[in-house]
Subunit: 197 residues, 2 copies
Amino acid sequence: MSEIFDIKNFRSAEHEINPLILSRWSSRAFDGRALTMEDLSSVLEAAKWAPSSANQQPWLFIYAFRDTSSWIKLFTLLNVGNQEWVDRAGVLVVLISKQVSDRGSLNETASFDAGAAWENLALEATSRGLVAHAMAGFDYEKAREDLKIPDDYKVEAMIALGYTGDKKNLSEKNQVRDVPSQRKALDEIISEGEFKF
Amino acid sequence: MSEIFDIKNFRSAEHEINPLILSRWSSRAFDGRALTMEDLSSVLEAAKWAPSSANQQPWLFIYAFRDTSSWIKLFTLLNVGNQEWVDRAGVLVVLISKQVSDRGSLNETASFDAGAAWENLALEATSRGLVAHAMAGFDYEKAREDLKIPDDYKVEAMIALGYTGDKKNLSEKNQVRDVPSQRKALDEIISEGEFKF
């Protein structure tokens, strides 16, 4: 949980916010420790309490623990650049969302709602001294095929979950990259009354 | 902040999670108090620290305080059913996301990322004794037109933000509806290794 206390060396918020939110960041440095089903269940439990349009909860989570045949199946979907550091994560998750609403029409907010669930997952991981890192760098079509995902679901993201580790285990390139990212100024993303950007 | 302490009368988590996440819920009961720019800035500050693919931060927020001409413009977009209770909120926000990536291609994760920002906003509101309630019940096309939103942005949601109020101010129908919603069992939304739902 050391990130909770030293994040301010890396990030400066313009307005004071809950420290958990500022402390969440997508490190690549995992320590290789195995995760338990309880670890995984807790972060997915947090995900499921996200809000969604008409409480439809369009999210589903396909997971694999390291050192299982399912892990190999999920790990193989990743780009080589991600495989390099994900091999010390404990669990891989593929987050998908049902794009058809309970009434049979297109659920326009399914991806947006799945993103809310993902953020809960990431924050719960941070609460527990875990790191959750979402990735778009994987083969989406192969994921659909290999994991037997039906057409009415969208593949949203893959997530690596694990205990925080020493950056020294990363490649030199990733050691340089592996710092909490910055953000635009608030003024650049807010506008009164209409679109004025 | 009373919800922090009595949420367990309404919701039972299968696995213990950060109480902030379980306590966040989308009440319709606002008390009509005005919000300050500092209130609004704090919840949007939290939103901006969400993760996004390649840290592109595709989210933008168009806002209006109650009792302004902009408020009327945004309020008019809402369905009548939402107008009924939103009139005691302090701020309305329209959350939009840029669907084109920094490299000019389609940003496939923009809506997902915007959902993560929305959840941070909602959690920060909960932290502060505010309520944030996202809505899909509004005229998306009129929003695009009236707020001059360009075609390469998607209108994701409208959000009512305000201080928690007494349920007695709601219509009878909404008094009945205005309780923290439940969720599916974890077993219904997780699957090992492949899609087995």
